[in-house]
């Protein structure tokens, strides 16, 4: 493989792993609640700003920033769940959707009031303190930040896999995803599990926010919009309810995008991944991993 292709491959993988994290969060929420949230991109943005403030003001440590973002976005996720879903359990799906849209408007404008509408950056001295080395593989230099993004993503996926498949909480979440009425009849506290699933999904989004924010060193209030869209796209391509599907689809979209930039469509990279999603919907409505059955929302 020529080294510039390998270089792009690593770039695409980095980008794609962030999409995969976002899509995992989105899929986690949809899989359990069978409802869509439109505030996911804004939760991601809030996580990014959290990391920004920690690194800029407190201490230049990736770990600390990630932990702060985890706590903040978990709480934010619970607030979103309470406002948009908890009080509206029996309402039509559109009602909850509109509340999440309202929350996303409020969060974007709140960020604009706090941090201003312009793009903010961490001073480069601070970024370098995070860690500053490169590894050479086959003539290609991989930076510390790329390693950090890929490493954190893989680690989180393993943790999530463990939680979902090996713990009681994970078992209950899987049971709810399959049939929430039956699960509730077996004595599962539905409200707590919804909240937990929402918190976990939001934490994944918040971590993705810190990773992207530090990787590009750009923080702006509307950064959640297009990334939220990527999360939907990856989630839909993966089948909306399949966690492994979300990961593969996220990586795939990241790679497709990076190579479309490489082959001269840099302004239209987001268009490319959107068209990719439409094509998947046309050819395989259930997504790559969802089988022939497509995902249904509650009440469908």
């Amino acid at each position: 493989m020529p080294s510039f292709l390998f270089d792009q491959f690593i770039n695409g993988l980095t980008q794609g792993s962030v999409y995969a994290l976002l899509a995992l969060g989105f899929t986690m929420i949809f899989g359990t609640l069978r409802m869509v949230t439109f505030a996911h991109g804004e939760v991601y943005m809030m996580g990014a700003y959290m990391g920004f403030e920690i690194i800029r003001l407190l201490y230049p440590s990736f770990l600390l920033a990630l932990l702060a973002a985890l706590v903040a976005t978990a709480m934010l996720g619970i607030v979103v769940e309470l406002l948009a879903f908890h009080f509206l359990r029996n309402a039509p799906h559109a009602t909850s959707l509109l509340v999440t849209i309202g929350i996303s408007i409020l969060l974007v404008n709140l960020a604009q009031k706090i941090w201003g509408p312009e793009t903010q950056s961490i001073p480069f001295g601070r970024i370098d303190q995070l860690g500053n080395f490169e590894i050479e593989i086959a003539g290609v230099y991989i930076t510390f930040l790329q390693i950090a993004v890929l490493g954190v993503t893989v680690l989180l996926m393993l943790v999530l896999y463990f939680v979902i498949n090996r713990t009681k909480l994970g078992m209950v979440i899987r049971a709810m995803a399959q049939d929430y009425e039956a699960a509730s009849a077996m004595g599962v506290n539905v409200n707590v599990i919804y909240m937990a699933a929402f918190a976990i999904g939001s934490m994944l989004g918040g971590v993705a926010g810190v990773l992207v924010g530090v990787y590009y060193n750009m923080f702006y209030p509307t950064m959640g919009g297009i990334y939220g869209l990527k999360a939907f796209s990856a989630s839909v391509v993966g089948g909306l309810t399949s966690l492994p599907g979300a990961v593969v689809a996220g990586l795939l979209i990241g790679l497709v995008e990076t190579f479309s930039v490489e082959f001269g469509a840099s302004n239209f990279r987001h268009v490319f991944s959107f068209v990719f999603m439409i094509l998947i919907l046309l050819l395989r409505p259930g997504g790559l991993f969802g089988g022939k059955e497509m995902a249904h929302t509650r009440g469908d």
Partner: protein, 339 residues
């Protein structure tokens, strides 16, 4: 006996409430001296058409389009391009803008509507964002973020509009046409089919309603109306840029619909008027207007999810003179009170 009284035509009497509202809307603006207020009224008209078209989906069929500004944008750009590059007269550009927006609506609806409704919702949001990026980056066609300037004013069979008051009457006519056509649509088989789909899709399908076809038709129609509003906007402001058609614009429309109420033709208009007038009336609120829209969405959904006037239909007819009850009289139903 009735014959001793002066007989107005029954049609006029039955529609007296509507006609008097129209008369007030037509008669008052010439007395407004501050032209800025007239401009606000024109914008209420534009947003009324947009909210009505969203209501067609959200209120009547139960589909949720959260990227409706995309069709508004397509209408605006199509109309500007048709009249500037092809030199079409405004009336044709208006129709063309609606048709092109409807065509894009078909492209969006066709692949997604055979799936469950949530896919359409996701795709409309994505379409709005993607269209914004295309408008911004396709320099040769849309002139990118600089936008298209000097869109010609509408000329109707040689009469060129110039003052804001004339624009006001044009948008008033367009709003009335929208309301009238939607009223006719919603009271015929098409409208009943849409309501049936909203109430219970399975039952509708069982009684022979081709639900997917009706949903696609409704979506195309909604896109058409949004395109009409976009065309008017382009020729009224005379300058269009991608910034006027962001996802925020779509969210504002949703807030208007949520506030005014859905499922009838009065709620959306009231919602559009209220959410334009509230930030206008309280100047310090201008900076916080997006907070108002977001807050309205959350509060309305939690407290009164059908909106202020939603959830039931209102009759603006003076039923005493309506021909429908009159026919019952002619049949000789003895149990009805004397009229």
């Amino acid at each position: 006996m009735r014959s001793s009284r002066i007989r107005f035509p029954k049609f006029l009497l039955a529609n007296a409430p509507v006609l008097s509202i129209i008369a007030v809307l037509a008669a008052v603006p010439p007395f407004i001296t501050n032209m800025y207020y007239v401009q606000v009224l024109v914008f209420i008209g534009i947003y009324a058409i947009l909210t009505l078209s969203l209501n067609l989906l959200n209120g009547y069929v139960g589909l949720l389009s959260i990227g409706h500004a995309a069709f508004y944008a397509i209408g605006a750009y199509a109309s500007a391009k048709l009249s500037m590059e092809l030199g079409l007269p405004w009336v044709l550009a208006l129709a063309g803008a609606g048709a092109i927006a409807g065509f894009f609506g078909y492209l969006i609806a066709k692949p997604t509507l055979r799936l469950s409704g949530i896919y359409l919702t996701l795709v409309t949001l994505g379409f709005n964002m993607i269209l914004f990026l295309v408008l911004q980056n396709w320099m040769s066609f849309t002139n990118g973020p600089l936008g298209i300037m000097d869109v010609p004013p509408p000329s109707i069979f040689g009469f060129v509009l110039s003052s804001r008051l004339q624009y006001y009457y044009l948008i008033l006519a367009l709003v009335l046409l929208t309301v009238l056509s939607m009223h006719r649509l919603m009271t015929c088989r098409f409208g009943r089919a849409l309501t049936a789909i909203r109430e219970n899709e399975l039952a509708a399908e069982a009684t022979g309603v081709d639900t997917t076809r009706y949903k696609i038709q409704a979506f195309v129609l909604a896109a058409f109306y949004a395109g009409i509003a976009g065309s008017f906007y382009a020729h009224f402001v005379k300058y269009i840029s991608p910034d006027s058609f962001t996802i925020n614009e779509s969210f504002i429309l949703l807030a208007m619909l949520a506030f005014g109420g859905q499922g009838n033709l009065i709620g959306p208009i009231v919602g559009a008027a209220a959410l334009i007038l509230i930030p206008e009336a309280f100047r310090p609120l201008q900076e916080y207007r997006m907070f108002v829209y977001g807050g309205v969405l959350i509060v309305m959904m939690l407290v009164r999810r059908q909106g202020l006037l939603g959830g039931r239909s209102y009759s603006l007819r003076w039923t005493r003179f309506d021909s429908a009850p009159a026919r019952i009289y002619e049949r000789g139903d003895k149990f009805l009170p004397e009229g």
